[in-house]
């Protein structure tokens, strides 16, 4: 006979039901996402094909040829270089600025709390819309920023449409959107540091630069690492800001991984190359996310107690 769970008698619940419960609770969420694993496998498969949507007759299995082609393809090296430069530049700037702002707002005063919330607004703005906002402000005809830099002696700054300033312009938008992320995480970190070492240092009259480099920074390091890796993971995949601002142009100036793959797919209809590019990006993010998750788990344990 099967033992069905009687209401009011949970202790008699069958062992099967007790064991199955967590699976029953978590599987719907997993199943919802499992549909995503299929396109992932498809992407791996596509990356091994010669597959152009406009030349269906040429479709064929070519093993790793798409990847091997990258070695001699200056376009690929350009993509890799731009992506790394973009990620490195934005994350370093955001870290330095975010840390500086967090230090400015460290004291728990009403004004500082209010400002730290106010400064989150850029982060709550959709990155694509943020790019549009900056596009309006850098319009050569009426943009306020174009006007302001013309007063400073740069009358013909073309911002996103000039190869010389395109990277600077999208970096500016990225910094505007994501510095608050660094700021708010590091601020939370700073405020959670135990006060004792700082009080002792103040009593002993230790110079402030020493306190910063020898006490604050090392104690803050877990937060810095987690926030930096988090941003690095997102920044190397940046699409919204660059696509909305310049579509990867001018020329090949801003063809980062995802923008290049998007254009390969929809404009050149070269599915094989596009898939291979995405697999390489995925490998990079996978390696990064493994490092990230270790850091993130450490902090998470601290936040939720080791209990």
């Amino acid at each position: 006979m099967t033992t069905s769970a009687m209401p009011g008698r949970p202790a008699k619940q069958s062992r099967f039901r007790r064991k199955a419960l967590p699976y029953l609770l978590s599987l719907p969420a997993l199943l919802m996402c499992i549909g995503i694993l299929i396109p992932f496998i498809t992407a791996v498969y596509y990356s091994l094909l010669r597959y152009r949507l406009n030349l269906p007759a040429m479709k064929g299995f070519i093993w790793f040829q798409n990847y091997l082609n990258f070695f001699t393809d200056p376009k690929f090296w350009n993509t890799l270089k731009i992506s790394l430069v973009y990620a490195g530049l934005t994350v370093v700037l955001e870290l330095v600025l975010g840390l500086a702002i967090a230090l400015l707002l460290q004291k728990r005063t009403r004004l500082n709390n209010f400002l730290s919330i106010l400064l989150l607004l850029p982060l709550m703005t959709a990155p694509a819309l943020a790019a549009l906002m900056w596009k309006l402000m850098t319009n050569p005809n009426f943009g306020i920023l174009s006007y302001l830099v013309s007063l400073l002696g740069f009358p013909d700054m073309k911002w996103g449409s000039d190869p010389a300033t395109a990277l600077f312009t999208v970096t500016l938008v990225d910094v505007w959107v994501y510095t608050p992320f660094m700021m708010i995480l590091l601020l939370a970190g700073l405020r959670s540091l135990p006060p004792a070492p700082f009080e002792a240092a103040a009593l002993d009259g230790v110079p402030r630069s020493f306190v910063f480099f020898r006490i604050t920074l090392p104690m803050l390091m877990p937060y810095i690492l987690t926030a930096t890796l988090f941003r690095l993971l997102d920044s190397i995949q940046q699409f919204d800001i660059i696509y909305a601002m310049t579509q990867g142009g001018p020329g090949d100036k801003l063809l980062v991984f995802q923008v290049q793959a998007y254009l390969d797919f929809f404009q050149a209809t070269n599915v094989g190359r596009s898939a291979a590019l995405m697999i390489i990006l995925w490998a990079i993010t996978y390696a990064l996310s493994n490092v990230f998750i270790k850091q993130w788990l450490k902090l998470r344990e601290k936040a939720h107690g080791a209990a």
Binding site: A29, L104, W296
Partner: protein
């Protein structure tokens, strides 16, 4: 520690002012722009003195734009509605699926449990186009291209990991003792979950939902690849609007304000939980 000199106070004040100007200026400027006519926007030098007009907003709401060349139909309200629909339905589904799963991961140690939890987390970090591009071909075959169902499904990739990992943290912070007591009193597992665990974790669940809503609302690339004009949310719609309307800068500004205000308002409600949400539960504010 409090022997800061006047000079230092002044320097701090100046720096904070500069920071606030840099981060607030674009929002304020676009806000002002949305109340200006094109003539006043194009004036050089730019000026903050102008007679405000609601024409840009009226044009967006009524869907009709009067220009010198005649009237032009706009459908930005449709984009706004799409954003509301896609984000809210996605969040509701993610909550229905994610909260029980979060509870399972928090309360039970089970085989493969952590593997499943981390698999779901890994979706947050994979490049979206990796799956979106093949998915766009599948969606064509399945008839899911440009449907709300298809979009809401892929939006789970944004909402589910977020809700799962934030809510899990909240459940872990609750002591299981109350639940045990309730179970011993003879209530079923489900009754305990519904009457004890969920109400206690409710603030966290609500905050996770608000955050997931903001992230879904701000998403751009999913709908760019998988939807056409009539199903696109504001992020993609605003970009298309720029191309279509060309030089109606005031209306572009108004459309941007329309699109960012909802997330700003929600962020204010969720502000206490923002730090925890943004770090996926790793840092508490």
């Amino acid at each position: 520690m409090d022997h800061t000199s006047t000079l230092e106070k002044v320097i701090r004040g100046v720096l904070i002012t500069l920071v606030v100007i840099f981060f607030m200026f674009p929002i304020v400027w676009i806000f002002l722009m949305s109340f200006q006519t094109n003539e006043s926007i194009l004036r050089i030098p730019p000026s903050v003195v102008f007679t405000p007009t609601f024409d840009n907003y009226i044009a967006l709401v009524t869907g009709e734009m009067r220009t010198a060349a005649g009237s032009l139909q706009l459908d930005f309200m449709r984009n706004l509605w799409n954003s509301v629909l896609l984000s809210s339905v996605s969040v509701v589904i993610a909550l229905i699926l994610g909260v029980p799963a979060a509870y399972a991961f928090a309360r039970f140690k089970f085989r493969l449990g952590e593997d499943i939890a981390f698999t779901l987390l890994s979706f947050r970090f994979a490049p979206p186009l990796l799956v979106l591009l093949p998915l766009s071909l599948y969606f064509k075959t399945l008839g899911l291209t440009n449907t709300y169902v298809g979009l809401i499904w892929v939006y789970q990739l944004i909402c589910l990991p977020l809700i799962l990992w934030i809510v899990r943290g909240y459940f872990e912070d609750l002591s299981p003792d109350i639940e045990h007591a309730h179970r011993i009193a003879g209530y079923s597992w489900f009754q305990t979950f519904r009457k004890i665990a969920i109400p206690l974790a409710l603030p966290g669940i609500a905050a996770a939902g608000l955050l997931a809503f903001i992230f879904a609302w701000n998403n751009f690339v999913f709908a760019l690849v998988l939807a056409s004009a009539d199903k696109q949310p504001v992020t993609v719609g605003a970009l298309a609007f720029v191309t279509a309307s060309g030089i109606q800068y005031g209306q572009i500004a108004a459309a941007i304000i329309f699109s960012i205000v909802p997330t700003f308002v929600l962020a204010m409600f969720a502000q206490r939980y923002l730090v925890e949400g943004l770090s996926l539960g790793a840092v508490k504010g």
